[in-house]
Structures are given as structure tokens and as C-alpha cells.
Amino acid sequence: MLELERIHKYFGGLHAVNDVSFRVETGSIKAVIGPNGAGKTTLFNLIAGNLAPSSGVIRFVGREIQGMKPHRIAALGMARTFQNIKLFHGMTALESVMVGRHVRSRAGFLAGMLHLPSTWREERQIRDRAMELLELLEIAEFAHVEATSLAFGQQRCVEMARALAMEPRLLLLDEPAAGLNIYETAEVARLITRIRDMGITVLLVEHDMSLVMDISDEIVVLSFGEKIAEDVPRAIQQNPEVIRIYLGEDEEAA
Amino acid sequence: MTADLFFQYLFAGITYGIMYAIVAIGFNIIYNTTGIINFAQGEFVMLGGMIAISLLHFVPLPLAVAGGVVITMLVGALIEILFIRWLDNPSVLRMIIITIGLSILIREAALHIWGESIRSLPYFYGNEITTITLGPVRISPQVLWVLGVCGIVVLLLSVFFKVTPLGREMRACAANRRAAILCGINARNMVTFSFMLSAGIGALAGCVMSPITYTQYDSGTPLAIKGFTVAILGGLGNSMGAVAAGILLGIIEAYSISFVPLAFQDAISITILLIILFVRPHGLFGSGEAARLKEF
């Protein structure tokens, strides 16, 4: 599905991502973890096309996508959510999700202005599909409320629905549980598993370790821009190198 | 072009250029402490000139100029306190529109106070026909006044920012506002000071230029556009770059008269602005890296 090959990224003199390679298998949930400044967000931005890698190859559904514009990568079937939720100010929840249908619909500028019958039919399909997703995420009752005025957890759901509306093959989740309480986090965990069961591959960055350990099939650990481990959750928990970077070095040992 | 003409143009170019640089420095001071481009910057220059011209009826020239500068500074402080200080985290679009609105209000107020007539301060020394011979060129002593005063302003500013506690605190706010607050510095007052300072130097420039360029209620906007061009050209926030860029633009403009009709002269600087914005938005002298290490 997704394959990173020897990715490097420099910012000026800073080596933010250093020779990272890994694969995300179709139908799996993969997590990226690591301490502050480990380069997780940079990595996400490289995959989604917001940044171009300094060197290396990123392959998605068999195509090299490094340096491609985000909207073109999105059209190939990659959707993402953002760490600090990015909803569209002034749009209702339903409309926000309808934007997600953009890549799956065609009506152009003039068709939109003239409201041709074909446009009208397409519009109805978009609306119906968006509504279904809101129902799936149990926020249909807020369909006509401005999305940015919803409670935090509901905003996350709207963002997730928007991503799902794109019918992606790969879903990138940037800290889906940040700022949620224990119950909401459990809910998110359930949802992510369901998304995977719908046949969508998931790659996530997350700080809530219990969430990551519970749901991921595989985990990649980054530190100072380098991949230091890649394994199944149980092995990661036992990995001395991982424990060291998380708990820090022993004063005496150092 | 004769050598004589060449030098005449050169001096004219430098004179106008340093004027643009002063406006650009005004932009920079406010930009550095707030991240706002103050579209009313040109109006400060106009106000300084106009107020000094009016005061001249009552007091001698030096006092009139001082009065113009001080009153404009107060106007600058007032504007900041009334329209900017209490806004919580305003968006850039909002600030742009507010400062544009302010520039219109100041201009319209000037129109109602001083009318549409073109005014000017008298020459500080001699009159229109007095000239000083400097090697191959004859120049008006006012040009020397402009160069001298603006040069001193630039010098004093750099001393102010380097040496005085207030200047140091303003630089700290510019470098890292949050860290400045954590040092116990009143960042809001620094913003007010920055408005006063840039209003003050704008007004001073407006006074010394008045005998040469004249002052009219709407002379601010064209100056603001050129000042902005220079600020961008020199790298936003970089005042030494602004001086170099200002002189460069002034000279280009001066020589362009030989190639392009006078009426299109303004269009030249704007075209330069557009090209710079498209090609090198961080300025001629700045690199992307240096843009982050802001320097006065």
C-alpha cells in the first residue's frame, strides 16, 4: 500500500528525518510513535505531500508520490486528519463532510453556476453519502450545525467523516485521541478498528500509548529522526532501546 | 547623458531613496514588534509635514518641526491604543483592513483640516534657487538637510536599539514576544512605543522633505507603496537592507525618467514590487535563513 524508502529531510542544517524506511501493508493498522521532536509530524507531512523529502522514495498504490501536490495524492486515495483539527470555518458539519466528496465528484465551475440537472443529481448523491457517514459516526443530529462550534470530540468525528467521505485506501490519523477523555479515546479505538475492517488501511501517529498498543498491528518508533524499532506492540514494549528513550538514561549508567 | 546630468540624477535618486528608506524603516519597526504592516505609514509622513507647516504660523521653524514630530507621535500612540492594543490575536486580513481604514480616515481628516491645496515648509537654508557646488554637481542645500537628517535618524535608531534599555526591550519583543513576556517585559507597551517611534521618524522625514516634494493631504499613499516596496526589497524587518534598497529604488526611478514618461514613474516602483513579490518575497538582501534571524 505505502512504502517509504530511505527518506531524508533536512531543514537548513537540521536533519529532521534520517534514512527512514518502512512499509504499511494493505488492511493493517500501523502506528508511529516517538518522543517530542522525533520527526513524526514531519514524516506525516512528507507522506501527505505537504513537504517534499530531501531524498528518498515514497510509493503509494504503486506510484512514486514524493514531491506531488497534496491534492493529487488525495485524489490517489490518501486521506488524513490533523493533530489540531482543521475544520472549515463557516461551514456546517454536513457541508464539511461533503467537501470530502470532492475527489469523488466532477461538477465544474460553470456547471455549478448554472445548476444543470446532472449537477443536481450528483449533488444529491454527495449529500446522501455525507449524511450516511455522519450517521455512521453518530453525529447526524449535528448535520446542520456549524462544525467549528461543536464539542471537541464531535469535531474530531466530523474530521474523520470528511476523510472517510473520500473513500480513501489509506487513512493517515495525526493524534486522533489528543485532548479526548478515556471514554472518548476508547470510542476512537473502536472506530479505528472498524475503519480497518471496512478495508481501509490506517497509519497513525499517537501519544496515547495504551491506544497505540491496543489497536495497532505494527509500530514504528522514531527518535531524533531515525527509525530505532519496528515491530508488533508486545515486542516494542519489551524493547530495551525503546524503554531507554522513553524513560531516559540512568544517571549512573550514563 | 552628460556627466553633469548623471550626477544630478544620482543625487536626486539618493535623496528620494533615503526618504523611501525612512518610510520603510517605519514599516519595519511596527512589523518587527507586531507582525503588522501598517498601511497608514505614509499618512504619518504627510501628517508630520502638514502639522509643521501649520505650526510655522506661530513658532519658528525648528519648533514647528519638533511640534510636527511630537504631535504625530501622539497620533501614532493614540491609533495603537484605540484600534490595535485591545484586539485579541487579530487575523492578518483584519489588521490590513483596519490600517487601510485608518489611512483613509487620516487622509480625509487632513482634507477637511488643510484642504486640497499643496503646501510646503520653507527651505531650511536659503531658498529654491540657492545651490551648493559639490565637485561636478550643483545641489540644493535642502538635499543635504534630507541626507543629513535621515542619516542621523538611521544612526540614532541603531544606537537606540543597541544601547538603551527601551530599545533592547523592543528588540527582545521583536525577537521572541513570548520570551520577552516571560522576562517580565510589558510587550503591549512596546507595541505602543513602536507605533510612536515609526510615526515620529515618518513625521520627521515628512518635514525635511516637504520643501522639495511638497505636502498634500493625499501624498501618503504613494509614499506608503514605495516604502513598502523598499521594505520588501530590503527584506522585511531589515532596516539596513531598507536603506540600501531605498537608495537603489530612488536611483532607478531617477534614471528611469530618461526612458519612460514621467507619468509612469510610479508604475516602475510598483512593477518592481510585483516582480520582487513573485520572485524573491524575502527581499534582495535577505536569504530565507536571515529572514528568521531578524535584525534591526
Partner: protein, 241 residues
């Protein structure tokens, strides 16, 4: 010295801290550990007044801080060494330190600032060597020392440090932590926020563990160090197979 009760805070709709209670007494090093995104930085920002708490109370030296501007809290004797150091990159080392002495100068005058400057140079000899250098050109460890020196210039009653070890080599981290210990010996009070739990607990008197905005554990540093749950807070619970 510092007492927080049932505090809640966050940004906009996002509630980062929930029901936080903690206290720091004079002369001790207290550490706050927790993973990324647990709310540690938000906690410090709320104490210093950069973020307003939505509920609960924050008392510093018996004074209610909830409505005070950040610079007033600094003037009252609470200093923060911010995350990522945040030195004034375009200014010299000495200028950075003098700016840190802003509140001291207002309180006790210029002479006191110069005296304190000497004291910081003694604490961080490397800063004296580089006094005329631009802060932005210092190495990461030197910048961290400068940030600490700058905060200490105000002669604070309480020093709060936000992840001083981030991005530094282990040897440098050790130097930094040695200075923290020395601060306590000089009678200072320190609230140390760290991700590097083992190192932080190694020097602290007491510790709190923060997880997704809540204090989940607290106690003497030695106890926490031995606690299996601390490991859990970082690596998550094991799957119940």
C-alpha cells in the same frame, strides 16, 4: 510556595488539563513527568499566566494568579525556562541575560542586575566566554544554559523548567541537571517538567505523573522511580491476552 487546586485549562474547545491539584514547597525540586501531549507545557503556561484556567485556583506565595498578567507573575518571583529554550536569537548572550534581569532592575536597580550577571557567569562559565556572541549561534546545550541563566536573572522564588533535556546529548543533560541540583543547594525551588523520567526522578524530591491531562500518580521521587506504573504511563498497558 505554589498551590494548585482542581484546576482545568485548555485552548478553545480543547480541554488539556482536567482537575489538576498539586503543590510545590520552598526548597524542593518537584518534577512533573508524562508523555508527549499529556499537558505538561500547558500546565506551566497556566501557572505563569500565558493560559487562563477555566476552573479551580492557582496560588503563588498565597497570591491568586488566575487574573494576573504573565509579566506580573514573573515580577512576583515565578520564572519559566520555556520549552525549546526561546532565547533572543538575534541578541548577544549578555543582552539576553540583562533582559532576564528586567524585573530585578525594576525592583532593586541596575547594580543588582550587574551583581546577578556575575553570579550567572559563575554558574555557567561557558556563558561568560561567549558573552558577546549572538544567542542564535550557540549550541543547543549552551542555549539551554542561557535560557536558564536568563530566567534566574530575575532572582525568582520558583524556577519552572519545561523539558530542559529535549534534543540534548546525554552528557549535556547531565551538566544541566547538575545545575538544577546546585540551584536547590542555593535555596531555590524548582518545578521541573520532563519527558526524561529517569533522569528527572533521579534528582527530584517528589514527582507527579501526568497522563492525558490528569495527575495519575504522585509521591516521593524514589518511590515513583521504582513504580511499574510509571513505565505504564509511557509505554501503555500490556494487552490482556
Amino acid at each position: 510556595m505554589l498551590r494548585i487546586r482542581n484546576m482545568e485549562a485548555g485552548y478553545g474547545n480543547l480541554r488539556v488539563l482536567k482537575n489538576i491539584s498539586l503543590h510545590v514547597d520552598g526548597g524542593e525540586i518537584v518534577t512533573m513527568i508524562g508523555a508527549n501531549g499529556a499537558g505538561k507545557t500547558t500546565l506551566l503556561h497556566t501557572i505563569i499566566g500565558l493560559v487562563r484556567p477555566t476552573r479551580g485556583e492557582v496560588l503563588f506565595l498565597g497570591q491568586d494568579c488566575r487574573r494576573l498578567e504573565a509579566r506580573r507573575i514573573v515580577a512576583a518571583g515565578c520564572a519559566l525556562v520555556p520549552e525549546g529554550r526561546q532565547v533572543f536569537a538575534t541578541m548577544s548572550v549578555e543582552e539576553n541575560l540583562i533582559l532576564g534581569g528586567h524585573v530585578l532592575q525594576q525592583r532593586e536597580g541596575r547594580a543588582a542586575v550587574l551583581r546577578e550577571l556575575g553570579h550567572q557567569y559563575e554558574l555557567f562559565p561557558v556563558l561568560r566566554e561567549r558573552r558577546q556572541q549572538l544567542a542564535g549561534t550557540l549550541s543547543g546545550g549552551e542555549q539551554q544554559m542561557l535560557a536558564m541563566g536568563r530566567a534566574l536573572m530575575s532572582r525568582p522564588r520558583l524556577v519552572m523548567m519545561d523539558e530542559p533535556s529535549t534534543g540534548l546529548a546525554p552528557l549535556v543533560v547531565r551538566d544541566i541537571f547538575r545545575v538544577v541540583v546546585r540551584l536547590r543547594e542555593e535555596g531555590n525551588t524548582v518545578l521541573l517538567v520532563e519527558q526524561n523520567a529517569r533522569a528527572a526522578l533521579g534528582i527530584a524530591d517528589r514527582g507527579y505523573v501526568l497522563e492525558t491531562g490528569r495527575v495519575i500518580l504522585q509521591g516521593p521521587a524514589g518511590d515513583l522511580l521504582a513504580n511499574r506504573d510509571v513505565q505504564r504511563a509511557y509505554l501503555g498497558r500490556e494487552k490482556i491476552a
